[in-house]
């Protein structure tokens, strides 16, 4: 066991740090550009120098780096304020799905453009009638000549309003059990018949969309896997989703709590001297450090050739409620002024943003409850709940309103 870099890893880290120092985004780069444009500029710069998606094979635009080199890259890049959220879905979840399930010409075409940031992708899975019970989705795909015709509705689709392509899970056979009648496709988001409506979230922002499909045509060669194999293909995406989402980027953390507890007072003394405050911060640190070292154990397993398993569901299951709890705690320390929303005050705005965003993280990509079921059933081997829809044709499954 060694937590430090090996000589090769240290040399790699130096290369990475040098490149980042010489090529970091400047104020001039940011001037007059939207967040998406800045993200695309940075991604393109990395791609051209061979530092984009470094774990991918070189033929797809990567550099065949090891899992540990990926961690080193992330650690070093994380020291700079660079936007990455636009590419998490495409590079982290969809690309691994394409690598397994897409036809060779599509891998050659799409993967480099995912790596370079040229094209943005979205994931069209959830539906009004299929969220936690994803396999209950209803969007229809019917064969017509060499095409498939899509009708139905998706919901909670991040980035759909500016995505170039998406992957979509559809029902191709309603007469078999629900998991068996699904098929996955690539879909061109600019195709006729697609109507995208942003959803205003409780944060006031609109990251998600409703996406309506009316007679949208998809060529058969865009199919990912066999007809009826859509659930298996979707699991590839979902397993990678659990790795990609994790704790969910910058937000309220132990460092922030410590900073605020050092600044504010309780009964005339720094809050950090208060026993209850210390106990809470210690508990948060146990979670935060535990998740970090869990990640390193997972990376070590990956680098030994083991596949990422369902135990990785822990990252999001612990990370999202932790974010919510720390954010709430930080605001408590500020007493009533904790409610004042001020974009100028980084300390409070980070806590407030996290507080407002955390409920979404606890639901997106598998709710806390679904993640807990996954751990119980797939890690601990506990039996499934009896399911009333098990084994019966989808079109005979009882539905509510």
């Amino acid at each position: 066991m060694d937590f430090n870099d090996t000589p090769q890893e240290a040399a790699f880290r130096t290369d990475v740090a040098d490149w980042l120092a010489q090529n970091q985004l400047t104020d001039a780069d940011r001037e007059g550009r939207s967040a998406l444009e800045i993200a695309k500029l940075w991604q393109r710069r990395k791609y051209e120098a061979g530092w984009a998606c470094i774990g991918w094979d070189t033929e797809y635009g990567g550099r065949g780096a090891s899992p540990i080199e990926r961690v080193i890259w992330d650690q070093e890049e994380g020291k700079y304020n660079v936007p990455s959220r636009f590419f998490v879905i495409g590079q982290g979840m969809i690309a691994p799905t394409l690598m397994v399930w897409a036809q060779p010409q599509h891998k050659e075409n799409f993967l480099p453009k995912l790596a370079s940031g040229e094209e943005i992708w979205c994931q069209l899975f959830s539906e009004p009638a299929g969220g936690s019970d994803l396999a209950a989705l209803r969007t229809k795909a019917e064969k017509d000549g060499d095409d498939w015709v899509i009708n139905g509705q998706k919901i909670w689709t991040s980035q759909a309003h500016y995505a170039d392509y998406g992957i979509i899970v559809t029902r191709t056979d309603p007469t078999v059990a629900k998991h068996k009648g699904l098929t996955m496709f690539i879909v061109d988001m600019k195709a006729p018949g697609i109507d995208i409506k942003p959803i205003k979230q409780l944060t006031g922002e609109s990251d998600f969309n409703e996406v309506y499909f009316t007679d949208v045509r998809i060529p058969d060669h865009y199919r990912l896997g066999d007809v009826g194999q859509g659930w298996t293909a979707a699991l590839t995406t979902l397993m990678n989703e659990r790795l990609a989402i994790g704790g969910g980027g910058p937000g309220a953390d132990v460092k922030l709590a410590l900073e605020i507890a050092t600044l504010v007072e309780i009964d005339g003394k720094p809050a950090i001297e208060d026993s209850a405050v210390r106990a809470k911060i210690a508990d948060f640190h146990v979670l935060e450090a535990g998740l970090e070292y869990n990640g390193y154990r997972a990376i070590t397993a990956l680098s030994r050739g083991e596949l990422p398993g369902p135990e990785n569901s822990i990252g999001k299951l612990v990370g999202a409620p932790k974010l919510q709890a720390i954010a709430s705690f930080c605001m408590d320390l500020l007493e009533e002024s904790g409610i004042v929303w001020s974009d100028d005050n980084l300390l409070t705005s980070l806590a407030q943003r996290s507080y407002m965003g955390a409920p979404g993280l606890r639901i997106a990509g598998g709710t806390d409850e679904i993640m807990t079921n996954i751990i119980a059933e797939r890690v601990l081997g506990l039996p499934q709940d009896p399911r009333l829809d098990k084994g019966i044709p989808f079109n005979e499954v009882p539905t509510g309103n």
């Binding site: 066991m1 060694d2 390193y296 601990l380 506990l382």
Partner: protein, 373 residues
């Protein structure tokens, strides 16, 4: 970076698990719990023959000269087996104290016996309700004579020697090495909630002792000793936590109610998944803790406190919810659930409560925070 034990270390784990399965079945723990003995002497001898008591002692003192990774692995297995032996007292505390503070004469005198298991050592710290501090210690050591009472002392009925924490100048402690086979030593058994690990009240009346090392030890150096023990204790607690979870899972799969295995109810499976999450985080923190201990990292205080708090919380939760999962049967004397429940609590208080280690953790965070600023 490589955040996993080596092949050899993993083989040691397999070997240790197999050995304890054979030699420390639940009936061994139960017979100490039910009987008048303070530990299982036969198991102690076998464990010593395996060389476990000698793990980190240098070869020049009769030890194996192995590292803390190996000791952590053994600690976890002893936790899983709820072994009724004075391992933590003798190895993580007494042996470590002598290695850290003892003169070479003291090391020569005591370490070979501790390595072979012929000498059982312990640390005598607690004197009354509440945490012992440099300020409130009352046992004195004057001119090589120790006077006062320590209670409870883990494994105090069977220990041959004790490292006694004595009053010293402000911010210091005098560690006195006491041979307990003296007439002036009066030991009485203290009944605790885990009789499978005996405890004693030890009264000393001008008992001759040798000061450990050069003289007084700073309280912070003494706390650093406890940090080291905390990592190993965390591994032992982790073993308890994992066994309690495994037992609960096994029961939930085979116990039926309302026509189905109770493990299929979300109320049960979410509880067990919650145990798994706590155990996993505790394990990762314990990995970091043992790495910090073995590598001599200057982040040991933070790493050890984090591992200790995580394992304390995980083991207490797993032990209590294991009983809950078993329902009424879990509350019987006949079932083994009680072993984990008792031992988890005893270990969680052995070198300072959860609250104490939470404080120590945050002190380390504050220190890092101030240095970064």
């Amino acid at each position: 970076m490589n955040f996993e034990f080596s092949e050899e270390q993993l083989m040691l784990r397999e070997q240790a698990r197999g050995f304890l399965k054979q030699e420390c079945s639940p009936s061994v723990t139960r017979s100490v719990l039910d009987g008048d003995m303070h530990y299982d002497r036969g198991l102690w001898q076998k464990v010593a023959e395996m060389g476990w008591t000698a793990t980190t002692i240098p070869e020049e003192y009769g030890g194996l000269g192995l590292g803390y990774y190996e000791l952590a692995i053994i600690a976890e297995e002893l936790g899983r087996a709820v072994a009724p032996i004075p391992f933590s007292s003798s190895v993580y505390l007494a042996t470590e104290a002598i290695m850290a503070f003892g003169s070479s004469a003291q090391k020569n005198k005591w370490l070979p016996g501790l390595a072979s298991g012929e000498v059982i050592g312990t640390l005598a710290l607690s004197e009354r309700s509440g945490r012992a501090t440099a300020e409130n210690l009352s046992v004195t050591c004057e001119d090589g004579l120790v006077t006062g009472t320590k209670t409870p002392v883990a494994d105090g009925m069977i220990a041959n020697i004790a490292v006694v924490a004595c009053k010293a100048s402000a911010g210091h402690v005098q560690l006195a090495l006491v041979d307990l086979a003296q007439d002036s030593v009066d030991r009485t058994m203290v009944t605790t909630l885990d009789p499978s690990r005996g405890h004693a009240s030890i009264s000393l009346a001008k008992t001759s002792a040798e000061p450990l090392g050069e003289g007084e030890v700073s309280w912070s150096a003494f706390e650093a000793l406890l940090d080291r023990a905390a990592v190993l204790m965390a591994w032992e607690q982790l073993g308890i936590a994992d066994m309690a979870l495994e037992q609960a899972c096994d029961y939930a799969k085979q116990r039926f109610a309302f026509g189905r295995a109770i493990g299929s109810f979300q109320a049960i499976k979410h509880k067990l998944a919650g145990m798994y999450v706590k155990n996993s985080l505790a394990r990762s923190n314990a990995y970091h803790g043992v790495w910090a201990l073995a590598s001599g990292s200057n982040s040991l205080q933070l790493a050890a406190s984090t591992a200790r708090v995580a394992s304390t919380q995980a083991s207490l939760f797993a032990a209590q919810e294991n009983i809950q999962t078993h329902g009424g049967m879990g509350f019987t004397w006949e079932f083994d659930c009680q072993f984990y429940y008792r031992r988890a609590k005893v270990l969680s208080l052995a070198i300072g409560s959860e609250r104490h280690w939470q404080h120590r953790l945050v002190s380390a965070l504050q220190h890092n925070h101030a240095n970064a600023a």
